[in-house]
Each structure stands twice: as structure tokens, then as C-alpha cells.
């Protein structure tokens, strides 16, 4: 099956959106699922978050970083990808959570934030709070790709304070927690910030479910490369996750393993740029 690219839009200097034909995926996608993308036959199997799945197409948020993403950037509207595989992973139930928040500070997190806000707001009884953090004013995504129009309460922060509230989503969460009862928190993005989020919500005993990025290949539980330890027990991010209870995760392990191929990526990048 060909996966034609039907849309490509810059979100900011570093991130862009791609809409790709993938009817099998779009039909079954639920917020929390992910896909595996292969640009070409010789490509890597790259796990990716999905922002939207509609009309047989999925929209992905992509960062121009690393060799594969750089290579991805060469693809234009009308080109096709070799494979878009999924939906993968377990999707948390879209049900009534009450005061429920989604926090994000990086591309994949922002994509998930969008999917969750849409899913959660369709359910009666949810007060959906969405918090999105960007480094600076120039990095903020176009309005249509932010979550404001999908949620009940929207907070935008910039780390340098050039637009919206100054600071990180962590600062907003802290305020909210002191102010009122939050029932449930989802989050995605920078792993070290997710760890901080866990520290923050733990004393309040608020269930906090985050998306874990781990090295993956098959995405079906066959290779074991995506293993993480939850309460000391080995779990596979691709089939037991990708969303886990932040309070049960061992972050040191996750942060370590994620960086395993950094050196190789640099080598690949050099080779790619020489081409």
C-alpha cells in the first residue's frame, strides 16, 4: 500500500506537520496509540505520535532532528512513504475523568495533547485542561494545531516569557494543584520534565499517566528493546504502553537507554549530509 503525503505544513522552525494516507490506521486509531513509519524500504521503523486520524489519513508532528527526521523532511506533498504501521500500543479509555489535564512541551507531546483533548472533550463530565509549553514566541504552533479550540481551559507558556505565561507547564500544574482538585493528569514530551511532573503530583496522589519514548523496532512485543521497568517489573513500551503511571517508573533507566544510539545517529547524519 502506498502512503501518499497529502499535506505538509511548518509548525515552527524545527517542527512540521505531515498528513499521510493510512486508511487501516485511521480507521482504528484512538488517542494514546502510536504508529511506526518507514520512509523507504531501507529506512528505520520510527515510532511516531499521531495528532489526528480522519478520512483515512493520519497527521503526524515531526521534528527536524536526527538523520531520519532530516531525511523525512525531503518528502513533499505527493510523495509516498513505504509504510505507516499501526495503530500500536494500548490506548487509555476515553471516559469521564472529571478535571483532567494534558501537558506537553515537545512535538510528540503536542500531537498527543491534541488527540487527547479531542477525545476527552467528546465525553460528558470532563473538564479538559490543556497546557502547552514552547521555548519562545517564535516557536508557537499555528492556532489551528494548538489545543485551545478543543479544550475547556487552555494554558500556553513560553520558557522565556515572550508570549503567554512565563515558565513551563510544571509551573501551571503546580498552581492548579494548590488551587483546586485535579482528578487525572496525562502528559507527553521531554522525559526529564515528565519525571519532574511525577515528583510534583505524587504528594497529591493524582494519577499521572505519561507517554514513554523508548527505542523501538517492531512495535509488537518481539524485540524487547523498548523494555522499561514499572514497579521493578519489566514491561514493553510498545504493547504494555506507551503510557505508564509516572509514579511507578524508573526514570534513570529510561533516560539512559533512550540515548543508546546517539553516536550512531551522528555517524548516519554525516553520511547522509555527504550524499
Amino acid at each position: 500500500m502506498k502512503h501518499a503525503i497529502t499535506k505538509k505544513v511548518d509548525l515552527n522552525n524545527g517542527d512540521y506537520l505531515m498528513e499521510v494516507e493510512a486508511p487501516n490506521v485511521a480507521e482504528k486509531f484512538q488517542p494514546g496509540n502510536f504508529v511506526i513509519l518507514m520512509t523507504r524500504e531501507k529506512g528505520e521503523r520510527i515510532p511516531m505520535s499521531v495528532q489526528k486520524a480522519e478520512d483515512g489519513k493520519v497527521s503526524l508532528f515531526i521534528k527536524r532532528l536526527g538523520k531520519t527526521s532530516k531525511e523525512l523532511d525531503r518528502y513533499k506533498v505527493g510523495d509516498s512513504f513505504f509504510q505507516v504501521i499501526g495503530p500500536l500500543g494500548i490506548a487509555p479509555e476515553m471516559k469521564k475523568y472529571g478535571n483532567v489535564a494534558f501537558c506537553s512541551d515537545l512535538v510528540c507531546g503536542h500531537a498527543e495533547n491534541y488527540a487527547f483533548c479531542k477525545g476527552l472533550s467528546e465525553i460528558e463530565g470532563n473538564n479538559v485542561i490543556s497546557i502547552q509549553t514552547f521555548p519562545s514566541e517564535g516557536d508557537i504552533y499555528p492556532e489551528s494545531e494548538l489545543t485551545e479550540h478543543l479544550c475547556d481551559e487552555f494554558y500556553l507558556t513560553t520558557v522565556d516569557g515572550s508570549k503567554g505565561r512565563k515558565g513551563h507547564y510544571l509551573d501551571i500544574v503546580k498552581e492548579l494543584l494548590e488551587e483546586r482538585k485535579i482528578d487525572y493528569i496525562f502528559a507527553g514530551g521531554d522525559l526529564s520534565k515528565l519525571r519532574d511532573l511525577g515528583e510534583l503530583t505524587k504528594p497529591y496522589l493524582i494519577p499521572t499517566i505519561i507517554t514513554v519514548r523508548q527505542i523501538m523496532i517492531d512495535g509488537t512485543g518481539m524485540c524487547g528493546s523498548c523494555r522499561v521497568f514499572v514497579d521493578g517489573e519489566m514491561k514493553l513500551t510498545c504493547i504494555d504502553g506507551p503510557m505508564f503511571d509516572v509514579h511507578k517508573l524508573n526514570f534513570e533507566d529510561i533516560l539512559h537507554r533512550v540515548g543508546m544510539y546517539k553516536g550512531e545517529e551522528c555517524k548516519a547524519m554525516t553520511a547522509f549530509e555527504k550524499q
Binding site: N24, V25, K28, M38, K42, G43, E44, R45, K67, T68, E71, F82, Q83, I85, G86, P87, L88, I217, D218, T220, G221, M222, C223, G224, S225, R227, F229, M234, I239, N250, D253, H256, R257, G259, M260, Y261, G263, E264, E265, K267, A268, A271, F272
Partner: protein
Amino acid sequence: MEKINKVSVPMREQSPSERIKNFKSVPLGYSEEEAKTEAQRCLQCPDPVCEAECPVSIKIKDMIKEIGDGNFKEAFLIAKRDNPVPAIAGRVCPQEDQCEGVCTMKNIGDPINIGKLEAFIADWAMENKVTEEINIKDKKEKVAIVGSGPAGISCAADLRKLGYQVSLFEALHKAGGVLQYGIPAFRLPKEIVEEELSCLEDMGVDIQLNRIVGQNVTCDALMDDYDAVFIGTGAGAPKFLGIKGEKLMGAYSANEFLIRTNLMKSYKFPEYDTPIIVGDKVAVIGAGNVAMDAARCAIREGAKEVYIVYRRTINEAPARNEEIHHAIEEGIKMLELVNPVEILGNEDGWVSGLELQKMKLGEEDSSGRPRPVPIENSNYRMEFDTVIEALGTIPNRLFLSKTTYLKKDPRDRILVEHNLVTNIQNVYAGGDAVRGNATVILALGDGRKAAASIHKYLGEKANAQTIF
């Protein structure tokens, strides 16, 4: 009477020093003359014991006779009749435990190289574009097959030949199961796997890749939309020792190591995008085929020293003899009677070694092999940069968690009756999904057997419908 030739025709191979630099086939294959000479050694026993040992009952005696007479096409058709993938089985079957193990010639000299002859005849047919002629009379019944390993392949081939509309669902982006992602190209060249799979497509089997049953297709949907279902999902999930240090960078499951290498072609990085990191000194834990494959990949991917770390001795190793022999020729060292108790790491989170406990052999256990017994206070440490755990695999949880109505044993193997039907009347299963870690040929045999059962079931169903 002709003189009996006690010595088999040796297989020409790439030299060890040469082959550790590439992923090309180690055996170079028999020439026509060599194959004939080897085949002519066969005694043509009146009661061919070899055939009784073949899980798919190839007419080995006739096949060898035709090779000996130079009738290669006939020989090929004989092999193909009982085995849809002779080029594969000839290369990976544990012949020493099957046909060759009981060959009468073994009493007086070398057994006939049956596996090599099977591979020869299949390769010959491929080179000479000789194929089986198949006349398919289409039937309307539809059968879904889950998993494209040897079990799924053979089930699909047989059912399609019988005229059924067959769809094959495979989770990965390439078909073939272990043949594709597990067994390395130097043992089983991928062109051969692809060629034998293309026969399926030529026959009209609808191969649907990236279809993960339980995830993007439900098993219930298959049971509703198809008249019968065959489950050949294998046992593809890695087992871990569960010791300290498995989270370290540089610690792999053999599955990950082999999937990167074989499916994703990391050995051609950066032409292919998927990287692999192989340190100078590699330990592979385990001594089955999977361990030998991982060790031999590691040496080809730049490791300077590779050790097989095994808690028994190599005499008890479950790997095929040929693999152990090739591994040793390639400089892989055998560290016997040791059990890893911890993977050691450095401050950056990378593997730095293993802590090992010495073992001795005790009494026989249920597998008929001497049990390894730990020796108290014998722990010591050895430096390694990469540790690969090759402890065997277990059935994939993804499929099972979505099909809880299927009966399983405590080790998650799907339970079947002798005709391979599960507890659901139109659902059949076979291969590693039922047996746990078994072999290619047993999976092939199961696929064929299930096809026959499904044919019988659907035939009876159709008859019942015409009567009422």
C-alpha cells in the same frame, strides 16, 4: 555390485577468514556433478528409515535416486510435493536428529548429505526456472492465516492449492517469520526466502503485511469474515534472565540483535538506516541456534572476540551441529559451565562485563541432559562490552491478550487436538505458537496438517449444507 562410497562429498564453503567479513552464504552449494556423486552413495534401502524421520514425509529415497540419475526436475518435484519450501528446509533442518541421523550409511561411514541434496535440488530449480505446475480450482470458502512463518506459509500453500481463498496476515513489513527476521543470511540467503514466498503470491494467496491481529485487525473479525482461521503466530517474544543489569545500554535480547541485523539490515548501516552497536568483546548467553546465529552475526558486525556463555557443556548444546562447528571455525569461543548472575555496568550506563558463577554437571533432568548445578563461592567477573541474551522465546502476549477465549497451557502455548483444532471449532493452530521453541520443519508439518484438517472441516460443512 558397485563399491560402496563411505565418504560423503564435502560441501565447498567460504573460508572462515573470508566469511566473517560478509553475510553471504557459508556453504557454496553442490555442483551438479557433486550432487550426483553424493546421491549415488545412497543404498536405496528397501525400507527407507530416513523418510520415517522426516516431519513432512518427503520421499527422500526417490528424490535421491532421481538426483543420482541426473533427473533433477523429477527430483525437485518429488521434494516439492511434500515440502513447499525445500530450499529453506535443506538449509535449516536439524538433519542430524532426523533423516541423516538414522541413515543406514551411518553404520559404515558418513550418512548421505540429505539436507544438502534437498537444498541443491531446490536451488537448481530456481536457477533453471523450473516450477511445479499447479491447477487451482477455485472454491468460495475463505481462510485467514495469522503469521507468515513456516507454519503459516505451508498452511497457506496447501489450502490455496485446494482452491480456498487464502489471506495471510503478517504483523511485520516483510513476510517469512523467523526465516526473515531471525535466521541470518549467511545461513539462509534472503533471496531464497523471498523466492519461495513469491510462489505463494503467484498462486493467488493474498499476503497482507503490517496487519497485527489483535491490534489493527481483531481475531473476532477474522472468525466472522472467514470460514476458518489458522494461527501460526510463533513464539517470538524474548525471554530475559531477569538478572540485574538488563537495563544497561549494550544489553540485548537475541531477538533485538537479530531483528536489527537481519530484518533491518543493520550490517549495511548507514546504507540502511537502522544502527546496531557491537562492542569489541561480546558475550552471547545460551547455546541454541539463536545463540549461534547471534554470535556469528556479532563477529561479522565487527566484534573482535565473541563468547558463547553456556551453563552446560557444548556437548549438551541444543544448536544444530553444523552451526556449532561453523561458529568454532569462525573463532567463536565456548565458555562452558558458567551461569551469568549479573550484567555489570559502568558509570555511563553501558555494559562492562558479566559476573559468572561456575557450574558442574549433575544428574539427568527431564530434558534427558545433565542438569547444571551451581558451585558455591565460585563467582568471578569477566569484561564484556556487549551482552546478548539468547535464552529462547515465548509466545507473543499481544496476540494472546486479545484472544483470551483460546485455551492455552501454563506456558501460554495454544492448546490443540491432534488435528490441530483449538477449542474453537473453526480455529486451528500450529508451529511455535503451539509447540514453544521448535523447528522450521515441525512448523511446516503443522501447517500442512492444519490445512488438511481445515479442508476436511470445510468439506464436511459444505456437504452438510447441501444435504439440509
